[in-house]
Symmetry: C2
Subunit: 218 residues, 2 copies
């Protein structure tokens, strides 16, 4: 390749708006936050399916696809340089580990948004400062914070993985809503009240919001 | 939401093949590897543009969009918990930091691939073991290793950022190709010889490969 090619490569970059024109919708991050068992993942997956059926392009990021690779725990990383690698980079559940967990997810969600997709993230993400930092890194209107506002009593009565039971028994320490705080968003774009509603109905509320804001076509 | 909704949410997951049907092509990771100034980013961006013009969905991951967020250095991270956060999670250029840099990029490329996109990564990624670990995490045929095989003398003569000059002067230590090894792929899917070819011609070689393998429509 000659030098000229090297110098002018920026001309080859595909603009965000061109990508969005190809997709037929805008890119954004729909950030679900709420207690364990509040319904985040369920709603995100139902929404993902609805968007797919509308011909839109979306991607769910949740514990299933993030905790096993990008944000794997120390036990899942291979120590190729002695004991240091997994210990340093593997994520546990301490305050800084949780912060880094959410920081990385925010960065990845931003990359999906930049690629023109609708990124749907479903993590407890209990701390306001962590969520606000992600909002700040995105353009205005790109971060759609959806508070899945299910009371802790309801979450605890659902308890699909038996985690609340373990937390009450002291087998899990620092469990959000039990012995670690959940900080609700100060001004979320959407609040979903999940009691007496199906996941379908709740996903429709998000679709309506995305249409209203011009992220999805009318 | 009732318990039934919680139990059956997996039915809502959109299968990979459905996503690919919507896009009109398969998802994969095109992993460019080669020396600094070998042409990786240029070719990846030209390829990205070509894919866009074909109506395909792709995303370039390179230093520009990864080193400032996901894999930021210590100086770019905010210390919210004393001095520990940036120090522990910020990535420098030591052996384990480089390994973690590539590991995270591999995880993100895999997520893009799972979302049905063609992820184009442009990083030196000098160590064979790091690249092979990413290949192992992907399904057969999903990892397309493209060796951008430009001799170090040619890269050094281009030196668009003056990095080789600094490395020769000892101002940069551990520079790949000068005082740190580059391990070429043992059996890459593609080898691009960049001398006397334009980035357009080289990107076309990748397009031809993707067509041949059925990732792109014929």
């Amino acid at each position: 390749m000659n030098n000229e090619t090297n110098v002018t490569w920026h001309d080859h970059q595909v603009s965000r708006s061109k990508r969005e024109a190809l997709n037929g919708h805008k890119g954004c991050v729909v950030w679900f936050t709420g207690l364990s068992a509040s319904g985040k993942s369920t709603i995100a997956n139902v929404l993902d399916h609805k968007l797919y059926e509308m011909g839109m392009h979306s991607m769910v990021l949740d514990g299933d696809n993030v905790r096993h690779s990008l944000n794997a725990g120390p036990g899942m990383l291979v120590d190729t340089h002695g004991e240091t690698f997994a210990k340093r980079f593997g994520l546990g559940f301490s305050a800084i580990d949780r912060e880094e967990n959410i920081r990385r997810i925010g960065s990845v969600a931003q990359l999906f948004c930049q690629s023109g997709l609708i990124a749907l993230t479903a993590f407890i993400s209990p701390y306001r400062a962590d969520r606000d930092r992600i909002r700040k890194n995105l353009e205005a209107g790109e971060f759609i914070e959806v508070f899945v506002d299910t009371p802790v009593e309801v979450c605890e009565s659902r308890d699909p993985k038996g985690l609340y039971k373990k937390a009450r028994a002291g087998e899990i320490k620092g469990f959000t809503g039990i012995d670690d705080p959940y900080e609700p968003p100060a001004s979320p774009e959407l609040v979903l009240k999940t009691e007496d509603k199906t996941a379908e109905m709740l996903a429709d509320e998000v679709v309506a919001y995305l249409r209203e804001k011009g992220i999805l076509p009318a």
